[in-house]
């Protein structure tokens, strides 16, 4: 068992304790909404990403290179860096916090068992992918993902999401976002290989790594180093970008919001 998995045992145990108070829900989920067997990919590997937030400068190079590499439609992103203004609890000064977001390639991905045609599935190497030829565009998986990592691609009318750039990994290349990251904040690798950079970093920073919304029991495999606790769940934030009003006092809409 890898270190990363062990990290989440505590969280899973807590989640299970909570769920047992709602026995009916648990029964329904155990019977039907269960993880199907994984298929495809290298069974010897478990890909994961570690994002060293201390190194992220919020330049959006990853956002742009991913967009170009994967031909995402305007206004929709397989990865994007959220940006926040936060007050420093110690000094009281405002500072900027960058949070790169992407699919977490969860170990217990809620997007997978909901798919009615098995178009969304998890490879044996842990990467969650969509078969766009089979997808019926029901958007059930889009609803099921707690991280907004999925969207319906306007061009293909099917579900779309980050794939860790499997096509590049297979060709021995790094994902576009990792390749283009200016600060070297994104580290991808095989958790099953103790010699990989990510395994070493997970071992080194074991106690400090955080994942998003751990209480959902999804066991995400994108780990954040230097994470501000306030952003683990949906942040209690003031949505400034949506509150800019024009001369007619109407909210100015995001230019791609129609998509």
């Amino acid at each position: 068992m890898d270190l990363a998995r062990r990290m989440f045992m505590g969280q899973l145990a807590r989640f299970a304790a909570g769920a047992s108070l709602v026995p009916l829900a648990t029964v329904a989920e155990a019977a039907i909404n269960e993880q199907p067997p994984r298929r495809g990919g290298d069974p010897a590997k478990r890909y994961a990403m570690l994002i060293d937030l201390r190194r992220c400068i919020g330049c959006q190079a990853c956002t742009v290179s991913c967009h170009l590499e994967n031909d995402a439609p305007l206004g929709k992103f397989r990865t994007i860096v959220s940006q926040y203004e936060v007050d420093d609890p110690e000094t009281g000064d405002m500072s900027t916090f960058f949070l790169p977001r992407l699919c977490n390639h969860c170990d217990n991905p809620p997007c997978v068992p909901v798919c009615p045609v098995q178009a969304t599935y998890q490879q044996e190497d842990g990467i969650v992918v969509v078969d766009a030829e089979r997808c019926v565009g029901c958007a059930y998986c889009v609803q099921a993902c707690p991280y907004d990592a999925r969207f319906i691609n306007d061009k293909t009318q099917t579900a779309d999401k980050c794939t860790f750039c499997t096509h590049r990994l297979e060709a021995g290349l790094l994902p576009a976002c990792v390749e283009s990251c200016v600060g070297g904040a994104r580290i991808i690798g095989d958790l099953n290989d103790p010699e990989s950079t990510i395994s070493k970093m997970v071992a080194e920073h074991h106690g400090e790594l955080k994942v998003l919304q751990p209480e959902k029991g999804t066991s995400p495999h994108v780990f954040y180093l230097g994470m501000d606790e306030r952003f683990i769940d949906r942040p209690e934030a003031f949505a400034s970008i949506w509150d800019i009003h024009g001369k007619d006092n109407k909210e100015l809409h995001y230019e791609f919001s129609g998509h």
């Binding site: 940006q83 809620p110 045609v117 099917t158 949505a239 970008i241």
Partner: protein
């Protein structure tokens, strides 16, 4: 907000399930709940026969329109056959796709069984109606009662499956905490009953003949279902107080920070209370029961709105970014056009059946028993619409 956090940049996606989904969940709930209302009459309860006539018309028409709305909500509707080529027993939606066709066909078969009885009288006519009656009735044999009873019970069993799957499909979605509660299952069912009761009241007013038993039955059903819905909502909140329930917590957070959600909750509570009181008032004051159709309209509104709030409004609550999505329903086919289109199709279907089928004569009713009078029901129906 004690720790000041300002979101400067974050993606915000549009909703993924369109108003088509509301139409599907509304229509399918009307279909199964109408069937439940027809059941006592189908099984022989004398004072429920008239109710069953109206309810079968409602069940049959909604059961046909519902799958069309469902198909339209897919982004790749032409790939619907993938559901059957790749059956996926662990997905609620896949299970539902397997249960839906038998349910729809069972309801159509049931309607055929009870409607072919009065249609037999039309077989001798020389006009178009006679021709259709000869085709549709498939012979002049009398419908055996055991067949109606057996099929009614089988369809009822299937309808339970539909009620469970439609509720579970939404309730298991952990990604949307507001949906993630078992109380959604009974909520869909009780609000479905409110809508079906309202539909029968409305049909009995505009499609007649008016029937005192039906009005009384339905006023009871609607008020009881409204009280049951309030009970379900109360249980949901109480559970939220005792169990660490993110569904209730998410609801409270939404209501606390959003004026729209406060208005919506107040409106739902207000309409629900008014509906219950209206039913009780009309039950108490018999001479005023002619107004029951208004109760019917309000009941339909409540059942539809319940689904709109659950399916559309909940999607505007962001999963991990701040604030709410500003969702405005567009005019295109994924917006109002879809809503109006489904309702238009439904009404057209009711009118066609009203014209071609002497459904008022089913289950011992009288209207269809006179083959010599030209039953121009469409004109009658249209006239009383206005």
């Amino acid at each position: 907000m004690n720790s000041a956090v300002i979101e400067i940049l974050a993606p915000r996606y549009q909703i993924a399930w369109y108003p088509w989904a509301v139409q599907y969940f509304f229509m399918i709930a009307l279909a199964y709940a109408s069937l439940w209302l027809a059941l006592p009459g189908l099984l022989g309860a004398a004072r429920w026969k008239a109710t069953a006539r109206f309810a079968m018309l409602g069940a049959m028409t909604t059961a046909i329109v519902a799958p069309i709305a469902l198909l339209a909500d897919l982004h790749q509707p032409l790939r619907f056959w993938h559901f059957y080529a790749y059956f996926t027993p662990w997905s609620w939606m896949s299970i539902g796709s397997l249960m839906l066709p038998p349910f729809v066909f069972a309801i159509i078969a049931l309607a055929w069984l009870v409607w072919r009885e009065p249609m037999l009288a039309w077989r001798d006519r020389s006009d178009l109606f006679g021709m259709i009656a000869r085709l549709v009735t498939l012979g002049s044999w009398q419908t055996p009662r055991f067949l109606v009873v057996t099929l009614a019970l089988a369809t009822a069993a299937l309808s339970l499956g539909i009620a469970v799957y439609t509720g579970s499909e939404v309730a298991i979605v952990k990604g949307r905490p507001l949906w993630n509660t078992v109380w959604l299952l009974p909520f869909f069912a009780t609000t479905g009953l409110i809508g079906a009761g309202g539909l029968v009241l409305l049909l009995s007013r505009i499609a007649g003949p008016r029937d005192p038993d039906t009005a009384r039955n339905m006023l009871w059903v609607v008020s009881a279902a409204a009280v049951a819905t309030a009970g379900v909502a109360l249980m949901w909140v109480l559970e939220g107080l005792y169990v660490e329930n993110s569904s209730v917590a998410a609801a409270l957070r939404s209501v606390r920070h959003s004026a729209e959600w406060r208005t919506t909750s107040a409106w739902g509570l207000g309409v629900g209370t008014a509906l219950t009181l209206g039913c009780l008032l009309l039950l108490w004051r018999k001479p005023q029961r002619g107004w029951s159709w208004i109760v019917g309209l309000v009941a339909l509104h409540l059942a539809w709105m319940a689904r709109w709030v659950v399916l559309m409004d909940v999607q505007t609550v962001q999963k991990q970014t701040a604030g709410y999505l500003e969702y405005t329903v567009g005019w295109g086919s994924s917006g109002w056009l879809g809503v109006v289109g489904t309702f238009g199709l439904w009404i057209a279907l009711i009118l066609v059946i009203d014209m071609l089928v002497p459904w008022r004569g089913a289950l011992g009713g009288t209207a269809g028993d006179a083959p010599d009078t030209t039953p121009d029901y469409s004109a009658k129906g249209a006239a009383s619409h206005g």
